[in-house]
């Protein structure tokens, strides 16, 4: 029970994909312009991750043992899950086939989750739980950073720091705050 809870809190907070692993930075910069956009990107990431983790769960008995052999399989699964949901998104929302939407589905965070699935993790539903925790942590940071960014729009930020630099420094401050939970 405790290990499951540790795994979950690790995925959401202490091993957060964006703040402590530096993954999904493209989303941090491009999908935090408003809370609505951040929420949509979080949902996209959640469905892509759950689908990819479910694929891993199903394919677990066939998965090669060495990491080098598993790499192409993980890349293929992440890309397949991302592209599948991208196609469905375009079909149901009648949106343009835009690269920026594709990058929300196929991103470093999704591939990073699959590549960092702990080896000792029992096969099966634990993989999906781990993916769920990571995706929730990812969404949490996107939404919080969108809120921070909306406040930053009103602040008098020096010109060289406007845009990406102040956003990265704000993310660092959020990471430092959450670092307390790692001690």
């Amino acid at each position: 029970m405790n290990s499951g809870l540790d795994l979950f809190t690790g995925g959401v907070i202490t091993q957060n994909l964006i703040l402590f692993q530096g993954l999904g930075i493209y989303a941090l910069l491009h999908f935090t312009k408003s809370i609505g956009t951040a929420f949509k990107a979080s949902i996209m990431m959640l469905v892509s991750t759950l689908t990819a983790c479910a694929f891993v769960w199903i394919a677990a008995p066939l998965m090669p043992i060495s990491f080098g052999m598993r790499l192409p399989v993980y890349l293929a699964i992440a890309l397949a899950a991302g592209l599948l949901w991208h196609k469905l998104w375009i079909q149901f929302t009648a949106a343009d086939s835009d690269r920026s939407i594709l990058t929300a589905f196929v991103n470093s965070a999704l591939v990073g989750i699959l590549l960092s699935i702990p080896q000792e993790l029992p096969e099966g539903s634990a993989v999906v739980s781990y993916g769920l925790a990571c995706a929730l942590g990812y969404g949490l940071v996107l939404i919080v950073m969108a809120g921070v960014r909306e406040r930053l729009e009103l602040a008098d930020v020096p010109k060289p720091f406007q845009g990406v630099p102040i956003l990265l420094i704000s993310a660092a401050l959020l990471a430092l705050a959450l670092m307390g939970y790692r001690l």
């Binding site: 402590f20 790499l71 992440a78 592209l83 196929v106 470093s108 990471a175």
Partner: protein, 198 residues
């Protein structure tokens, strides 16, 4: 724009990391050692150039709708091949780079350069310039983080007990701060703001 200008642009005025904020994952995640920045930068450049060559060669048989899928497949295949090669010749380095080496397969910087609609020679010059600019930026970030965080540069100790290293610089949150400050410095030097390029 001449080929020379296109080449130089990638190194300074459109530097992928410091000016365009692309490919930041390895810049934040793995450059606590400068050597990691060099290896990831060179590997990304090799993958970008080979993907550009394939794109040039297959330009006549792929239409715009499927080109992005061809790009994704191409980059994934070349990343896997390079990963296997590294596993044979530099296995320790591969372990040190962890999941960040395979993540070149989804590096936004590579896809952004592949999506340019330009002539083949310009595309090649652009890829080479951008690759060098990317490697230089990762190396610079790595040198600064390694110096501040561990008191060494490329593994050589430069602070011998006179000043305690500030280990936060070697962590990802420290990387956020250092990359943010470097970007602000570049903005100040070029007289521009830090708008995010779409």
């Amino acid at each position: 724009m001449s080929l020379g200008n296109r080449f130089i642009k990638g190194i300074w005025s459109e530097n992928p990391v410091l000016r365009m904020a692309l490919g930041l994952v390895p810049a934040l995640g793995i450059t606590h050692l400068a050597i990691n920045g060099v290896i990831i930068g060179i590997s990304t450049t090799i993958i970008l150039i080979t993907a550009v060559l394939v794109k040039i060669l297959t330009a006549k048989v792929t239409n715009k709708d499927v080109s992005i899928y061809v790009d994704i497949a191409c980059v994934a295949v070349f990343t896997t091949l390079l990963y296997r090669l590294m596993g044979v010749y530099q296995p320790e380095m591969l372990v040190q780079l962890g999941i960040y080496f395979p993540l070149i397969a989804v590096n936004g910087f590579v896809f952004q350069r592949l999506s340019q609609d330009v002539t083949p020679t310009v595309r090649l010059a652009d890829a080479l310039g951008m690759g060098i600019g990317y490697t230089a930026a990762l190396t610079l970030i790595g040198i600064i983080r390694e110096f501040i965080g561990l008191g060494q540069i490329f593994g050589v100790a430069v602070i011998n007990g006179t000043l305690a290293p500030f280990s936060l610089a070697a962590t990802v949150p420290g990387g956020f701060v250092i990359v943010g400050l470097l970007m602000a410095l570049c903005n100040a030097l070029s007289g521009k703001g830090g708008e995010i390029n779409e």
